[in-house]
Amino acid sequence: MNNIGRNSFDIGYMDTLAGGDSYLHRLDPRAKLITAFLFIVAVVSFGRYAVFALIPFLVYPAVMISLGGLPYGYLLKKVLVVSPFAIVIGIFNPLMDREIVMQIGGIGISGGWISFASILLRFVLTVSAALIVIALTGFNTVCLALTKLGVPRPFVVQLMFFYRYLFVLTDEAERMVRARSLRTFDAGAMRFKTFVPLIGHLLLRTLDRAERIYLAMRCRGFDGRIPMIRSLRIHFREVAFVTGWAVLFTVLRCYNIPLLLGSLVTEAFR
């Protein structure tokens, strides 16, 4: 068994989710995109040792997932798939930064571990926000919204083509891997010696294909612009949606809610 194909199928599942019909699905994609962007900016703007102040931000993914009727488990799995990147970025923090900044039950916690936790938490928040937008909107509509928001066209076109041919490319890679494994009888992992020409071959095929696609585009009058017919409208509900979340993010950014709650509780018991 190999799982290249399964993964690409999984990405296609995002589009199936985007075909849903909830309040959030019907919202103009630009509203969702802007909200996600504000969310990510707010999360990223915290200092390196922020952990508890970030926790209330979990409310955004939680609300979006429940209102949009998205599967928690599936999204969580997708977040885990990319998590090694975040772990690699943060893993050295505990080694470099050994200054004890906090005591929990007599165990000293160094600044490194806290910043590591902070990186992981931010990673979960931002990646899930991005995934949620795609799962509620569909990748291509996200691209369209990007164009309408003034993101440079070449960039959006690249994204669209990436998404369109991701499936073709994984199919091709899968066929090559299968062809190789059917003729490898020791069933071991792929050796470097076979891996390199395989990747090289895939690249050459891709270049050939790119040439053919470009030809097909030129044949139909391509001149650098990708025209599409879509009408998008901003209604009151979009404005309300963006404003509501923006206010909440601002409040969560300016006030450390867990700290305030904590001090309220200790105050009450005193």
């Binding site: 296609g12 053919r212 585009m217 044949c219 139909r220 391509f222 025209p227 599409m228 017919i229």
Partner: protein
């Protein structure tokens, strides 16, 4: 109506790596003709097709499409007149949805949105793919992809249809449907293929290419009876013209 004419005069083409593609190809296809282009693998069929829409420029010789000799100046007009259906539909369908893909050409021609909608609906209807308009192309079957690929070309309302192996990788039913569909088109058609049965069905005329040269050009049925010619071109008689293996009687 002279603009449906395709004429090649003494076309020569050598690939940058020195491989000979074409060595002196000449023919004239007139309005409304349906012509099969047959030949062994590497005979130069695809190379020739790529000259017809100006993708490759001949090293020597000229191509005339209708009133224009093909030059870099009128490339746009020529590409509008010559609709090309590629062998691999995945190369042709690059937009996110079937609708966007079919609309791509007409929008580039600068048509109004209303007209584009109309053209898309008509072309999809013609190929019987109206129900696929919202689907992403990568989720379609090979047969559906081929139909949509043809619709993308029809939406440009070309005068001349050029097809590279249209029946390749289709199941028998999809293949028959495609042949029936192509029969209804009034365009000038040039079809490169190994499917000689389809050629016999669709094309009254056949051009045989062999090592970059035209070795025969004439009525399809006559050429397909010439076993020597077919053999030299690594081809075999269409199945319907072969002896029946079960009852051993000749079908034609």
């Amino acid at each position: 109506m002279s603009h449906h004419i395709v004429e090649a005069q003494d076309l020569h083409y050598t690939y940058p790596d020195g491989t000979r593609g074409l060595s002196g190809v000449s023919f004239r296809i007139s309005h409304g003709e349906s012509v099969a282009l047959v030949g062994e693998n590497g005979a130069g069929k695809s190379t020739l097709l790529l000259h017809l829409n100006g993708y490759l420029a001949a090293t020597r010789g000229t191509v005339r499409i209708g009133d224009y000799p093909l030059t870099s100046k009128n490339l746009h007009a020529v590409r509008r007149a010559v609709g090309m259906v590629f062998q691999n539909s995945d190369d042709q369908l690059f937009m996110p949805t079937v609708f966007d893909d079919v609309a791509f050409g007409p929008l580039n021609l600068g048509l109004s949105e209303v007209e584009v909608e109309l053209r898309v609906a008509q072309s999809l209807e013609t190929v019987g793919a109206g129900h696929l308009r919202k689907r992403p192309p990568y989720k379609l079957s090979q047969g559906e992809k081929r139909s949509v690929a043809i619709a993308t070309v029809l939406a440009m309302s070309p005068d001349i249809l050029v097809m590279d192996e249209p029946t390749a990788s289709l199941d028998p039913m999809s293949r028959s449907r495609l042949i029936e569909l192509l029969k209804t088109f009034r365009h000038t058609k040039i079809i490169a293929t190994h499917d000689l049965d389809m050629a016999a069905d669709l094309c009254e005329r056949t051009i045989v290419l062999h090592q970059g040269k035209v070795t025969a050009d004439g009525p399809t049925i006559e050429l397909f009876r010439d076993e020597g010619l077919l053999h030299r071109s690594s081809l075999e008689k269409p199945l319907r013209m072969q002896k029946c293996p079960v009852c051993s009687s000749r079908a034609d």
